[in-house]
């Protein structure tokens, strides 16, 4: 099992969700996050007071998937989340030791 963590542009969420659904991923967790990479921030001006906004709003998607699905999940996300502009986001893959479905007690592959 692997956890795929994808940081994407907020307006790409629905497309990414659809793409993951299409490759058989049945669940995910989404959170609103802020951060920056190469994109850096932007400047906001309020009555002449300029503020450097370093942290840009993004969405973080977390999905635990079978190890063999990782590659197609990555492809699914990159195919729709890519605009070619700076700030499209990143994908991280992390090993997962264990998973449990709380309602039934099922574990590992059955629980994702």
């Amino acid at each position: 099992m692997k956890m795929v963590v994808a940081i994407i542009k907020p307006f790409k969420l629905e497309e990414v969700r659809q793409a993951l659904d299409d490759v058989g991923i049945e669940g995910m967790t989404v959170s609103e996050v802020k951060g920056y990479g190469r994109q850096k921030g932007h400047t906001e001006i309020y009555r002449g007071a300029e503020y450097e906004v370093n942290f840009v709003p993004k969405l973080k998607i977390e999905a635990v998937v079978p190890s063999e699905s990782v590659q197609k999940v990555i492809e699914a996300i990159t195919s729709v989340a890519k605009t070619g502009q700076i700030g499209d986001g990143k994908i991280f893959v992390i090993p997962v030791d264990q998973s449990v479905r709380i309602r039934t007690g099922e574990t590992d592959a059955d629980a994702i």
Binding site: E44, I45, Y46, R47, G48, A49, Y51, E52, V53
Partner: protein, 496 residues
């Protein structure tokens, strides 16, 4: 109560006097021919309009100003802003009925009379339907209680405007004291000086008794009023007054922690836009209501309050677009308020095109004050009370002397005898035949603005020092970091 009051009285009287002057045999005693004014009759439409106007100005303060200001502070201080504006409205309302109205709008005595009324109407004594207040027209009265209410809303919003200068860092207890002390020591004297006048009926009746009697009654008017200063709805009394008070407070309290280093963006421009819009709508009560009668003068003030405001909003937006690259909502809202401020003293006198130009000037000028000048000087006037209200009010005060000029489409109203006196040295019943001496009036406008600036600066400083000695002005650094909502009020604005 406004300078124009007496002028209408003079008109009625002077019309008769002029007829008499035309007859050389009687020219020696023109005043004797002046007729006694008819008794004041209350017009139901005037009463109705003034009740509505009072409510419109109340709406400017709560929720208008509270939201306009509240949207511009950080989330952690939202409730403190709303609570402060709300409590000021309540405090000033109570003190106004108890002693404020009497001190501001009755005849004073002794050396204080140019700036302070008396105690004759303390606790609303003697105010009943049988003694209507005067308006700007001879024989036209207004039920005095509605005048009391109307003027109360002005005192409240002026006091509330000032606190924008030191938002996000003053103790609530200090705000409470500020409302009482500042309204009493600073607002009431300026309101009395600029607006108090015995009224056209009293003046005409005095004139009927002779010049000496007239002079005596006319001398009971406030200082600025006697000087002939034109301030239709409060460019000096309200805006310069509040703007300077906020500025002095901002300097005295010092900058907010992190000012210039941390980001302090407005937490909800949505609410600021709602607030600015409520201010604009309410301002029709403020300006058109200041005519005290539902007639052509009120209509003129209404038209000017539309056009100057729109022009100023566009002016700020355009200049911002050119110099900062983007047209912003906050810029548009700020420009709209700057225009409202600038047109306030001129609203009953300027022509619509004069008001339009006034708005264009005010929008651009206030933009530069709130951006370039503020940054260069480095003061932390949190919500730009100085840049918008003091500067806009000053432009309006001076601009009133210019836009009232008939050559620029000003209405040189029939109640404009002071300008005529300036021009001719005598009272006349037909101002339009006399060349309007614009620079003489502008000089009067300047003097009145200068007096207001000095009075407000010194008076406010005294108020702050008194508060500082009693409860202290500024919250602790810890409270300021945590936010005034939790630390001072035990609530938060948004529980989501």
């Amino acid at each position: 109560m406004r300078s124009v009051w007496r002028n209408l009285a003079l008109l009625g009287a002077a019309a008769l006097a002029a007829a008499v002057i035309a007859d050389p045999a009687l020219a020696q005693a023109p005043a004797a021919a002046a007729a006694k004014a008819p008794d004041l009759v209350v017009n139901k439409a005037d009463d109705g309009w003034m009740m509505v106007s009072s409510l419109l100005v109340l709406m400017m303060t709560v929720p208008g100003l509270a939201l306009f200001y509240g949207g511009m502070v950080r989330t952690k201080n939202m409730l403190s802003m709303l609570t402060q504006v709300f409590v000021i409205q309540c405090i000033v309302c109570v003190l106004w009925f108890v002693y404020g109205y009497s001190l501001a709008f009755t005849e004073g005595s002794g050396f204080t009379s140019p700036f302070l009324g008396g105690f004759s109407q303390l606790f609303m004594k003697g105010i009943d339907p049988k003694s209507p207040a005067a308006t700007f027209s001879v024989g036209v009265g207004l039920d005095e209680l509605v005048y009391v209410c109307f003027q109360m809303t002005f005192a409240a919003i002026t006091t509330a405007l000032a606190i924008g200068g030191f938002a996000e860092r003053m103790k609530f207890s200090a705000i409470v004291l500020f409302a009482i002390l500042w309204c009493t020591i600073v607002y009431i004297p300026i309101a009395h000086s600029v607006w108090f006048n015995p009224g056209p009926n009293a003046l005409q009746n005095a004139l009927a008794l002779g010049q000496e009697a007239y002079d005596k009654v006319a001398a009971t008017a406030g200082y600025g009023n006697q000087m002939g200063a034109l301030d239709f709805a409060g460019g000096t009394v309200v805006h310069i007054n509040a703007g300077v008070a906020g500025f002095v407070g901002a300097l005295l309290l010092g900058r907010r922690i992190g000012f210039g280093r941390e980001a302090m963006p407005p937490h909800s421009l949505t609410l600021t836009m709602v607030g600015a819009s409520l201010l604009w709508v309410g301002w029709f009560g403020f300006n058109a209501g200041s005519n005290l009668e539902a007639n052509a003068g009120a209509v003129l003030a209404m038209a000017n309050t539309f056009v100057a405001t729109a022009a100023a909003g566009l002016s700020w937006l355009l200049v911002e677009w050119l110099f900062k690259g983007k047209p912003s909502l906050l810029g548009l809202a700020s420009g709209v308020v700057a225009g409202l401020v600038a047109v306030t003293p001129a609203s009953g006198y300027a022509g619509p095109m004069g008001a339009l130009v006034l708005g264009l000037v005010a929008g651009a000028a206030c933009f530069f004050m709130c951006t370039a000048v503020k940054q260069a000087l480095g003061y932390d006037d949190t919500l730009d009370v100085f840049g918008v209200h003091a500067v806009g009010g000053f432009i309006g005060a001076i601009g009133t002397g210019i836009t009232v000029n008939p050559s620029f489409g000003g209405t040189l109203p029939s109640d404009f005898s002071k300008a005529c006196e300036v021009a001719s040295g005598v009272i006349t019943n037909n101002c339009k035949t006399i060349d309007y001496d614009m620079w003489a009036q502008v000089w009067i406008q300047f003097k009145n603005a200068a007096i207001t600036i000095c009075w407000s600066a010194v008076g406010s400083l005294i108020v702050y020092l008194i508060i500082s000695a009693i409860v202290g002005l500024r919250v602790s650094a810890e409270t300021e970091r945590e936010g005034l909502d939790i630390a001072e009020h035990g609530e938060r604005a948004y529980n989501m």
